[in-house]
């Protein structure tokens, strides 16, 4: 924001730190965009939100247990807590009369509240090692190190590979789970797989985007991508590209300007993409609709 585009580009290719930040943000954007497309099509946007909030106590507990801020340990802690949250939602819906939107809201609040309590407790410890753990709330891309990006790639690449490997089955599961079951497709296993992959997408983004706004990077790229295409494959690719674009733009802006939290900036970038898509996309865009309505009225 404070720099010219040319300066940013020069910094991007010349500056090691910025290159790391950009690479990490692109990676998290691709993974969350691609997997978010399935979450949106399966109407599980809220699940993504609940799981990302639920990850916070996992992050803090992983720190308490290991005593270090090793990215892989924190990500595993986040993933376990996120999955536990999703499992609890499923269990509550199955065994009680509470509907899933209420169950998701409950899980989100309970886990996030617990996470905040733990975070406050840890920050009061005399030890200085916990410093910076609070960046998991709103994200701080500038702190991304090479080891963080390596950990993100180690989780994200297998997730994308699994998505490609089970493409046909996941597509069928998303479109028509009843028919998939009748064919003998193990829909429960694939459901668990897809939810786990979504958790992976979330934990990859936590350090950069933060638990509070991570769900935007799951939902928004997919919503924007759906506007431009009627093909699932194109939608998933486009969603990944939008996620990467917003991730890189947001991370660079927040890194180059004064200590802005990255998550909110990324969310502003992806929101701009969504607004443009909602307005301008051919056929599905609002402007398209207005023009056609005007044409009909004029004719």
């Amino acid at each position: 924001m404070l720099m010219d585009l040319s300066d940013v580009l020069q910094a991007l290719f010349g500056d090691y730190t910025l290159r790391t930040v950009a690479l990490g943000s692109a990676l998290l954007g691709i993974v969350s965009g691609a997997l978010g497309a399935f979450a949106v099509l399966r109407r599980q946007s809220m699940l993504g939100d609940a799981m990302s909030h639920a990850a916070l106590p996992g992050v803090v507990l992983a720190f308490i247990v290991t005593g270090s801020k090793d990215p892989l340990a924190l990500m595993i802690g986040a993933a376990l807590a996120g999955l536990l949250g999703a499992l609890l939602v499923t269990a509550v819906v199955r065994t009680t009369r509470i509907k899933s939107d209420s169950a998701l809201g409950l899980a989100l609040a309970v886990f996030f509240g617990l996470g905040l309590v733990l975070l406050t407790y840890v920050q009061k410890l005399p030890d200085a090692a916990q410093a910076g753990l609070d960046r998991y709330l709103f994200g701080q891309a500038a702190t991304l190190l090479e080891r963080d990006v390596v950990a993100m790639a180690a989780l994200g690449m297998p997730a994308l590979l699994l998505l490609a490997l089970f493409w046909k089955e996941l597509k069928l599961l998303t479109f028509d789970p009843g028919f998939a079951t009748s064919l003998g497709v193990p829909v429960h296993l694939l459901d668990v797989l897809l939810t786990s992959l979504l958790v992976v997408a979330i934990v990859i983004g936590l350090q950069t985007v933060g638990v509070v706004l991570m769900s935007a990077l799951i939902v928004a790229p997919a919503v924007a991508a759906r506007q431009w295409t009627d093909r699932l494959g194109v939608m998933v690719l486009l969603s990944g590209a939008f996620g990467a674009l917003a991730g890189v733009a947001g991370a660079l802006i927040s890194s180059t300007a004064a200590r802005l939290p990255t998550g909110p900036i990324i969310v502003i970038c992806i929101s701009a993409i969504v607004i443009v898509s909602l307005l301008l996309a051919p056929r599905r865009g609002l402007v398209w609709g207005w023009l056609n309505a005007g044409g009909v009225a004029a004719a």
Binding site: F175, D230, R231
Partner: protein, 263 residues
């Protein structure tokens, strides 16, 4: 496959949701090569019966056999047409793609549909008169066209037994006639077809076998033998009103649920 063995054999089947029985002690034989309608009031368990046979709902007791063996071993012999409104038709995919999903079971893991599947899908679309819609995005289809796409998907499964859930719901008269023609074609080819149906009037015209269902099986057999006024009265709780052979199912269902027939 000998002809004496029934295509579908259901014994002692019970399904319950939260302790409340939806299907109670169902015994049902569907002989091979018949076109059977399953009729009954709302909440009679018609859809659940099909879903239970296909293993889509948990059964409390009993079993369903396809040609003498459990469904899990006979999947390739069975095709399923779910209710049209059970899926989101704004899903980003094309007509051809949806029809090719009917081959996914035969393809197995990791193999993508190719030219052969594409040709099979196009042939099935031809049979339902939707050939020129192959490239169309599915959200641009009318209700009748959506139903034909689902039928085409079942046709590429190349099955022996077809289960169809309300294939005539919300379709235009032309589509209804086209579908009936297709069902009778399947029967002529020796296939067995079981159809959940809601229009009592067309039962004698469309089907040769019928099952009258209301949580229990009230009657099942050839239409000429079991589709009688007394059986219908028993199925619809004795509230059925025949007006020159025309019944009013809406009134019946309201009465069935213990509500005043105010509609």
């Amino acid at each position: 496959m000998n002809t004496i063995q029934p295509a579908v054999q259901v014994t002692d089947l019970t399904v319950a949701y939260r302790e409340k029985p939806v299907l109670w002690d169902i015994d049902l034989n569907v002989p091979a090569g018949v076109l059977m309608g399953v009729v009954g009031p709302n909440g009679a368990g018609k859809t659940t019966l099909i879903r239970a046979i296909l293993g889509l709902v948990r059964v409390s007791a009993g079993q369903a056999l396809i040609y003498g063996r459990p469904y899990a071993e006979q999947r390739r012999l069975v095709a399923y047409v779910p209710q049209r409104n059970s899926v989101d038709w704004d899903f980003p995919t094309s007509v051809l793609d949806v029809v090719m999903m009917g081959r996914y079971g035969a393809l197995g893991w990791f193999r993508r549909p190719g030219r052969r599947e594409r040709e099979q899908a196009l042939m099935a679309l031809e049979r339902v008169g939707m050939h020129e819609f192959a490239r169309r995005q599915i959200s641009q289809l009318s209700g009748g066209q959506q139903q034909r796409v689902f039928l085409a998907r079942a046709l590429v499964q190349d099955a022996h037994v077809y289960f169809m859930d309300e294939p005539f719901q919300g379709v235009d008269a032309t589509t209804e006639r086209a579908i009936v023609g297709l069902l009778q074609e399947l029967r002529s080819a020796g296939k067995t077809v079981v159809v959940v149906h809601h229009d009592l009037q067309t039962v004698p015209e469309y089907f040769d076998y019928v099952t009258l269902l209301n949580v229990r099986v009230v009657a099942s057999g050839p239409v000429a033998e079991v589709f009688t006024e007394s059986a219908l009265r028993a199925t619809y709780g004795g509230q059925i009103a025949f007006l020159n052979g025309r019944e009013i199912p809406g009134r019946l269902q309201d009465a069935q649920m213990g509500m005043a027939a105010s509609t």
